[in-house]
Symmetry: C2
Subunit: 556 residues, 2 copies
Amino acid sequence: MAKYAIGVDFGTESGRALLVDVADGREVASAVHAYANGVIDDRLPGSGLRLPPDWALQDPNDYLEVLKHAVPAVLRESGVSADDVIGLGIDFTACTMMPVKASGAPLCFLPEWRDNPHAWIKLWKHHAAQPEADRINETARRMGEAWLDRYGSKISSEWFFSKTLQILDESPEIYEAADRLIEAADWVIWQLTGVETRNSCTAGYKAMWSKREGFPSNDYFRTLDPRLENVVDEKMSRDIAALGGKAGGLTAEAAKWTGLKPGTAVAVANVDAHVAVPASTVVEPGRMVIIMGTSNCHMVLGVEERTVPGMCGYVEDGIIPGFFGYEAGQSCVGDHFAWFTENCVPAAYARGAAQRGVSVHQLLEERAAALKPGESGLLALDWWNGNRSVLVDVDLTGMLLGATLATRAEEIYRALIEATAYGTRMIIETFQANGVPVHEIVATGGLPDRNKLLMQIYADVTGRPIKVAGTHQSGALGSAMHGAVAAGAAAGGYASIVDAAKKMAHLRADAYTPNPAAKAVYDRLYAEYATLHDYFGRGANDVMKRLKTLKAAMRG
Amino acid sequence: MAKYAIGVDFGTESGRALLVDVADGREVASAVHAYANGVIDDRLPGSGLRLPPDWALQDPNDYLEVLKHAVPAVLRESGVSADDVIGLGIDFTACTMMPVKASGAPLCFLPEWRDNPHAWIKLWKHHAAQPEADRINETARRMGEAWLDRYGSKISSEWFFSKTLQILDESPEIYEAADRLIEAADWVIWQLTGVETRNSCTAGYKAMWSKREGFPSNDYFRTLDPRLENVVDEKMSRDIAALGGKAGGLTAEAAKWTGLKPGTAVAVANVDAHVAVPASTVVEPGRMVIIMGTSNCHMVLGVEERTVPGMCGYVEDGIIPGFFGYEAGQSCVGDHFAWFTENCVPAAYARGAAQRGVSVHQLLEERAAALKPGESGLLALDWWNGNRSVLVDVDLTGMLLGATLATRAEEIYRALIEATAYGTRMIIETFQANGVPVHEIVATGGLPDRNKLLMQIYADVTGRPIKVAGTHQSGALGSAMHGAVAAGAAAGGYASIVDAAKKMAHLRADAYTPNPAAKAVYDRLYAEYATLHDYFGRGANDVMKRLKTLKAAMRG
């Protein structure tokens, strides 16, 4: 009898359940449930309270609704019996965190706190805690905290303690009322199993925890704010569950929500990007997974601990047990092309695309594909949304150079694609130079399907072959794989995520091989990119920052 | 009885005649006649011979047709009697040159040469003589020729001896058959008066002649090419007529063409840009005339001889007798905005403009005008068509910096306008630093009418008040003024161009005054521009040139 596992991928706007065959990873059924309250960035549900700029909240009930609708839907659609579902895994956006009572009840469910925005979930893209992130970084630098190096020397405003400190700063009563501060991913697992479990992935990448050193010291937290001294012991936990482990069995109530059997194995929670790595067949060093979408997320495994400048972070056992999981990022990839298409493509192209019944993107890609490397004479710096890796500087801005009166839209479009490829090469070369080798790329996410030109340019620019993950739902598939591991081999699952990946994860047949002639031209162009990258990005000419300061002043 | 003068402005596509009242410059009638053969850049008329890239020829008959149609038309339209027209002046594009027989017959009129493209007029924008210009510059540098400094250390491919040398290189039989090599402007005067006259303006600005030193030495010409040793004495003339002089009286035949009286005073020919200076009221140092159109041409008078780096040239008596006439240029101004509007403005703007019945330019200008200086965070280098002054480098290219995902088309549009204003300020500051002061700007040409935002930005960026010439036809008015001077005071005209300008040239009432707050912001932005201008333009990073070389190689 075939056995199945279910993965649930909690995204920014909706959750997706995927039911897969444990034997070979075949995707049998999938269902999406949109969050009723979506991203809360304008008014608080209920009171209608207006939120300040840069806020982004979520409603925990929306996650429960995904469990109640999307999971039953895949059972129904597939006709698979709950008896044959051996495990359940989930992955989440992160850091997406919330204050809850000791019972697990979210503060925002309680009438006395419901109208306080700090009682709600702070979504990953809540960006209002920058002052707190600045204090965290400054204090860490002053105290010489060693853990700072693991995060490219900079903690993000998106991360756990930035958001925690914002709650403390702006609403100490919520901080006080919160018995627990917890990642939403771990809260969902708690609701499913009845057991508070904290996963090592979010702890490591978002909350400065490491397997060897634990959390930053109480001394550090006290220096940051005396009230924060015992935050870990009072409101979190030092008991961090390894990835691939079983968090518990499904409670009777959760079984009712989902239609699964009570006691079904539930895996420790995971992060969407990180769970995509084994789902893309990568369980060993040397093969970089890039999730390509609005932004790029680069993940690679290493045998040894290495400090790589400008990375988002590295965590031991953070992706695959037994390895250091390294993460880097580019802030603006798909967003870049969307911006260009909306703001810079002339009316004639829109008309031409409409006449042929293709999208403007497709038309641009066709015309850009007809160009040879170097033929446009253009070179761009891909910093329209700042630079995450390797410069870690949100105040850098985009640059385009080489324009003439004969420059056409498709040439600029191709130059922007190339710029993001140079940015990826800069990340790979920084990994390599610091002892984390990368010899192959596996792409996943939305772009590999939509933009073959981009894929070939990435292969040519990086000089690495690029393979493409077989699944379009690498988050949900990876979660299902973790569910199968939580069930264990005896139940028809797997003993480890490595074993699961061997059977359940696949690559597509098509791949992109670097063209040596194109690579030779791109080597020259990349050298120019690297020179300008350092000139504008490493202090020789801080014109971008001065312009940004002036811009802010003029907008008052 | 009122007296009148006629100016004929020979442009790139057509000629315009303007009849003005000598007393006050009132523009009584004007008529345009389009050239039948226009710009010949594809196939030679008659044979249909395909022309190589970068060629641009004209047909001398088209100029005669202007005399035969546009001049009679203004007489007809105004009802003015030929008896009351005391003088005629013309201005021309330059260097626009041609090979003719001793009789004045253009070689291209002769059946035996008509199918040879070198027999035709080489228009100012014929750009196929770059290898010859390179040899001229290289030879001059090697021989330490002092005159090179007068032209920003670089002779253009557009100029007289570049074109002459191309004829010699590619068609020695045409060089041999040409009894005379002459500016089209001077050839038209020859046709009008029967006398071969060569004007000091084109000789000075385009043929390396100076009042004090004459032409380059025969030794220089021999070194360039032995066959060229005696080019000046054999095919040109050392007899150069001062501006403001009378070339002669109208011949009987020319009187028939034009409907004017035989013997009517005809002025020495002039160049369109230079004749616009007195027509804009400028007959003294310190007031810069900028002709703003597809490109910008900057002219200012100086009391002393100064070598100013990167200028197009300076000529004693070249604009107004008694002064050194200094000329600088920007290669890409109106062309820049046209390129942007055609290639970078999204469909939504085209729709928005169409709905309101305004042009896309107007819509952009409105939205750009609502922005404050510095508010976009953008900065551009205005080198989409290379840089004429002060870097004299056609291989430089455009750059835009500071873009974000929130950047909008009107912000880029404004940044491009600002970039051309910074380019003008760079020219003004270079003049100032080398002893040629500029305290006021007088604008003329097509842009001042069409783009008030641009005018205010130029005032704010340069910190100089900008006035606007009263006429929309500064070329034709200036020519008419020269016609009135050729007639002389006794005939009801003027003794000098200075006297003529006092009466016949006017400014508009409206003017643009620098806004001190905007100026302060632009001072900061200009400092950033100047740093990038030098970084990319003076050798610190020659990336633009390397990209251009690569581009040419890839297009192979």
